[in-house]
């Protein structure tokens, strides 16, 4: 710990608080964290109070504004767990239902898919645009995936290569923010378009609802190339990831 002479007064106050609360051993970083927290909290409250006082057309910020600011912030950031009687109440309700019977072996026992993190939480929309028959037209789609930012990758099935994307109908695709170069073989001009159906997890989709369009062309040739045209919805989401 720095010698008391060189420690600023605020830090000395923090050290005194820790001493009063009986905390004798602590890392030196704790003082800095406490100072930072105090500064941030106080400035937030005072800024809020200033807003309230200007809203009330007062010239100065007074105690009532500060009180109101504190009240509003308490409900937002410093929430505490629900009170005991509330917890006892919901516990009583929950505990009345008997334990559900277990179905015989049905594979891994997991909640319904929408509550799991096993599948992508986006769906690929079908693109009704006609496939152009001009050969050699290469589209360079850009991919933006919104809400799957911090999750670990789902079981991947084949990494997308630069040339083609190998997928099969009905299988989930793990899409990362990669660039794909897609070749549309001209021979598949008149082919069946099918919609690739991927399960959607609305509960996991964040504020940005990204729908990625695809044109899934099934082929009957041995080469497993199919074209996927992706329409990016929001340009800047890609950067925001």
């Amino acid at each position: 710990m720095a010698s008391p002479k060189t420690v600023p007064k605020d830090a000395q106050v923090m050290m005194q608080i820790l001493k009063d609360m009986g905390i004798t051993e602590y890392e030196p970083r704790v003082i800095n964290q406490m100072l930072e927290f105090t500064y941030r909290y106080v400035t937030t409250i005072i800024e809020d109070a200033k807003i309230y006082s200007t809203h009330a057309k007062k010239s100065n910020v007074d105690a009532d504004d500060v009180r109101l600011a504190i009240q509003c912030r308490v409900d937002q950031s410093f929430t505490s767990p629900p009170p005991r009687d509330f917890l006892l109440d919901i516990a009583r309700q929950k505990n009345q239902t008997p334990l559900p019977l277990i179905k015989p072996y049905t594979g891994p026992r997991l909640p319904p898919d929408r509550y799991c993190l096993t599948t992508p939480n986006y769906r690929l929309k079908s693109l009704q645009k006609k496939v152009s028959s001009s050969a050699g037209r290469i589209t360079v789609p850009r991919l933006s995936v919104g809400a799957v930012s911090s999750r670990p990758s789902t079981p991947t099935l084949g990494t997308p290569s630069v040339q083609t994307v190998g997928t099969k109908v009905g299988t989930p695709v793990s899409l990362t923010g990669q660039r794909f170069t897609v070749q549309i073989p001209s021979s598949q001009a008149a082919s069946v378009k099918s919609v690739q159906n991927v399960l959607i997890n609305p509960s996991l989709i964040g504020s940005k609802n990204i729908l990625i369009t695809t044109n899934m062309v099934s082929q009957n040739s041995s080469s497993d190339s199919s074209s996927l045209k992706r329409k990016h919805e929001d340009e800047d989401d890609y950067d925001a990831l």
Binding site: L87, L88, L110, L157
Partner: protein, 737 residues
Amino acid sequence: MAAVQDGQMELDAEKETKPEVLSDGTSNLSGSTASGTPLTAGGAPTQEDQQTLIAVLQFLKRNKLSDSVEILRREAGLGDQEDSQTLEGSGGGKGDGGGGDANSLLSRVSIPSAAAPQNTPTPATVKRADEQLDVSVVLSAYSQQGDPSLYQVYYSGLKNFIESVLDCHRAELSQLFYPLFVHMYLELVYNNHESKAKAFFEKFGGDQECYYQDDLRILCGLTKKEHLKGNEALLDFRTSRFVLRISRDSYQLLKRHLQERHNNQIWNIIQEHLYIDIFDGMPRSKSQIDSLSGSFAGEARREVNKVKVFHGLLKEPEIEVPLDDEDDEAENEEGKPKKKKTKKDSVGSKSKKQDPNAPQQNRIPLPELKDSDKLDKVMYMKECTKRIRLNPENLPSICFYSFLNAYQGLTAVDFTDDSSLLAGGFADSTVRVWSVTPKKLRKVKSATELNLIDKESDDVLERIMDEKTASELKILYGHGGPVYGLSFSPDRNYLLSSSEDGTVRLWSLQTFTCLVGYKGHNYPVWDTHFSPFGYYFVSGGHDRVARLWATDHYQPLRIFAGHLADVTCTRFHPNSNYVATGSTDRTIRLWDVLNGNCVRIFTGHKGPIHSLAFSPNGKFLASGSTDGRVLLWDIGHGLMIGELKGHTDTIYALKFSRDGEILASGSMDNTVRLWDSIKAFDDVETDDFTAATGHVPLPDNSQELLLGTYHSKSTPVTHLHFTRRNLLLAAGAYTSQ
């Protein structure tokens, strides 16, 4: 709205009792001050009537019946001046003329008018009444109280009395000091007598027991009413009644004294906030009381611990063990190896009759055994035959896994039951899984590749694994905060992790990806534990509840609410029908999975509980906390049967050996200690008589039970695990200072 109505009803109740209270208080006041009643000019009513009228006045004011207030005041001939003077006089001139609510009400009134207390209190009173009704119901009952300046007198009076009684009763009655002190202090604070509260605290705070000092330190920081509102723990302390166990003789003494002296303030507090569990028997000694006290809400009532608990083990399923060269030919029952060394044998020998202490097989739905589970069981039984028998002469070897470069970020560790995998949860929100055996960790192949393999081949289970992903270590990313709890599933397929971000995550150990995130606690989840049969798991967190989940339900199945502070440790009983939770409120509760009821409350620790362990036969529970003691509990009778002293710092790891002969404890003081649990459990006699009183004399034999102390250089022990062959594995993070 409900709160307001309740407030009013409570005020009604108060009104009924208030006249009595104040009249009693008056007689007390007159008794203590021994002064004549200083009445104003003749014709004024007596002290008692004055007080009653003032009480009624307060009530009317609180309910904004200002017209009635005026009428009453006029008719009774009371003026505000008289109110304050009467009370001042009756207080014997002590203090600042503070008196009941009347004065606090009136002093509020006087502030805006900035003059001596005047009448026309309407707007201010309305505001005050509103405030009072807005204040939570929980706190409003504190408004019933007597003269604050006399609190010190009451308390000292009680103290003197208790010091003068016989020795045998003194210890028991001293239990009263702490709850009374706290409640009186809180009443003073609530009614805004800040200076008096501080004086009261200074005078009597030091007298309290040492194990309450932490609570008192928090308490002395609370000096204003606003502080009370935000403090959940105190509100819970206020609502839940502090339980004291006193023998009948001591209780009679106390009651007689309090009723003689008209110390009704104390009597009121006792009646309202304390619950005195009277038992017939010898008064307890100080050490006996000390061993059981320490929790937020006093001790546990005896009838709470009387519910029948099925602590026996479930019958093992009968499995054919394929005879090979290793096993003996002579097997008496199916699946029973000749050398009877394991707990299963004892159960198996009674397989024809039901253990009366064991729950029914179908009491709670349990998953049935899959083929892979049966194979696991066969492996398990084979390992059991090779198990080392432990006893005081034959101590286990200890293998310590030190986590290097964890920078004090290791927050949770778990081993699989067959000790093949080790997982660590870290403060950087990652979970890392290592393979303990030379066999590397592999992921399952992708779906395309899986289609290509030959499904009928014998080694299909190896073929589904992708060799390209083989590694010693797998890192699992996903949590948003430090990982505080880890638990492997018994079938080694899943890993659970609980974190500060409020979620519990289920990871697959075949694909090493996250499968489900269970959201329910919105606050840090401190611990999680899989059931010994899989499928169910329990988690406990900062929101003071423990939740029971099943892997295929996204919402909890049971909520175990009742603790007064965070739930820090959760464990399943070996028969999966009960869950034990240890909490920061220093109690351990045992919950029934079937209906969510709390069936046992164990008090006695003096600090938050961080580790729990059930003995393999299901009868006993061991718990360790920050006070460095390991306490042993008999679940069937609900009693503390042992105390193991020796550690000097928090005990984070407790494990019984596979047959329950040795209890290993690991602590922050860098040691692992081994205790003789057979001896500890044998020495106890629990007949019905002693059980009825709720306590059993504890032998002070920690030294004899300690079989060995093993120091690590500077690695606190975070986790302990006995392998199937009774080798002890320990894990901790190396700290370099």
